[in-house]
């Protein structure tokens, strides 16, 4: 970590762009203005148009990234606050999440293998349903590409966010527990944002699902990768 003017500039720029897009999103509530998506688009455009290498940007960008690890630890607090709900519905919650994580990883591996993608890309797609910080960590541990893994996490998140409710209706998944677990397990925080529109119970279920699927996914990821490499 070097303290250069460029590093300070890119760190400040990232925070500024984030605050701006966050403000716009809260004001207009349009899915496309999602702060992560909009900030990524703006900052990427700046790098491409200004011909700035990603490594130069990351001199400052990595400062912000260091908060990711502690932020994952902090997820223990919302889960702890939901502990009564969790223990009252332990079996349906755990069985749903475990099946979802396993099906998501297995189908991801199967489809990417079917189209003959490289092992590196298969391992990058593998953790897509987990919350971004965990997915990046899992991808990097397994030998995938963390920044690309973050992109697939966004694709999974938007899929759940935009098409999730229509899909759930079509599948007759209509209980609070079914909806919440489905959205949180397959589309992490974005799914949970959507669950918020159904109500309190769905939101709680979805945030429990997001957190637990991250833990289960971190455990299952190496197993899935090992099976793949057999």
């Amino acid at each position: 970590m070097e303290f250069t003017l460029a590093a300070v500039f890119f760190a400040v720029l990232t925070v500024a762009v984030y605050l701006l897009t966050n403000f716009m999103y809260l004001r207009y509530r349009k899915t496309l203005l999602n702060p992560v998506l909009a900030s990524t688009a703006i900052l990427s455009s700046i790098l491409v148009l200004g011909n700035i290498p990603y490594d130069t940007y990351m001199e400052g960008g990595s400062w912000i990234g260091t908060f990711l690890g502690p932020a994952v630890v902090a997820l223990a607090i919302p889960l702890y606050k939901q502990k009564d709900l969790l223990f009252a519905n332990l079996l349906p919650i755990i069985s749903g999440i475990a099946t979802g994580v396993a099906v998501g990883m297995a189908s991801g591996i199967l489809f990417t293998q079917l189209f003959r993608f490289s092992e590196e890309l298969i391992l990058t797609v593998l953790p897509k349903s987990l919350t971004t910080p965990v997915a990046m960590q899992v991808a990097s541990n397994l030998g995938g590409i963390p920044s690309l893994a973050a992109v697939f996490v966004m694709v999974a998140g938007f899929t759940g966010y935009i098409i999730g409710p229509v899909f759930l209706k079509w599948l007759h998944i209509d209980s609070a527990i079914g909806r919440g677990i489905a959205l949180g397990t397959s589309a992490h925080g974005m799914g949970t944002a959507r669950a918020f529109e159904y109500g309190q119970q769905e939101t709680s279920m979805s945030s429990v699902a997001m957190t637990l699927s991250a833990v289960l996914g971190a455990l299952l990821g190496p197993v899935a990768a090992w099976l793949l490499l057999l």
């Binding site: 990524t40 912000i64 990234g65 223990a76 607090i77 979802g100 910080p133 973050a150 998944i173």
Partner: protein, 124 residues
């Protein structure tokens, strides 16, 4: 005063994180250090070894800015323009299809298990 509170709690959370990283490194656990730190904190709260109010506002602060923290990583997509202009674009529908399958599986199983349990309770 509030700022000092949050700052101290951030240090505590970082402590749990670093402990997780150290354990991962020492025992070669196949889990990210952050997840180990998460589990340690959850257990500490659950067993009431560590009180919630000593960590609540720091955690709230971190989680409020969670999406900011991974933006530098998502900007990394600039390095993969070539991938998505070729065959790699197929990875998008693949991820979408796999997301649907995960959603269907988790939703069905949890809904079915919850209903089965409710019916069992009714009968007994």
């Amino acid at each position: 005063m509030k700022v000092i509170h949050i700052l101290l709690q951030l240090i505590a959370i970082t402590g749990f994180y670093l402990l997780g990283e150290a354990l991962q490194d020492f025992f070669n656990i196949p889990l990210p250090g952050s997840i180990i730190g998460f589990l340690l904190l959850f257990v500490a709260l659950f067993l009431k070894i560590y009180p919630l109010k000593w960590i609540d506002s720091g955690a709230h602060f971190l989680l409020a800015f969670l999406s900011l923290f991974f933006i530098p990583a998502t900007v990394g997509i600039v390095e993969y323009g070539e991938l998505f202009s070729g065959k790699g674009i197929l990875l998008i529908p693949i991820v979408m299809a796999s997301t649907f399958l995960a959603m269907a599986a988790s939703g069905w199983v949890s809904q079915f298990a919850a209903k089965a349990r409710a019916e069992r309770k009714e009968r007994s």
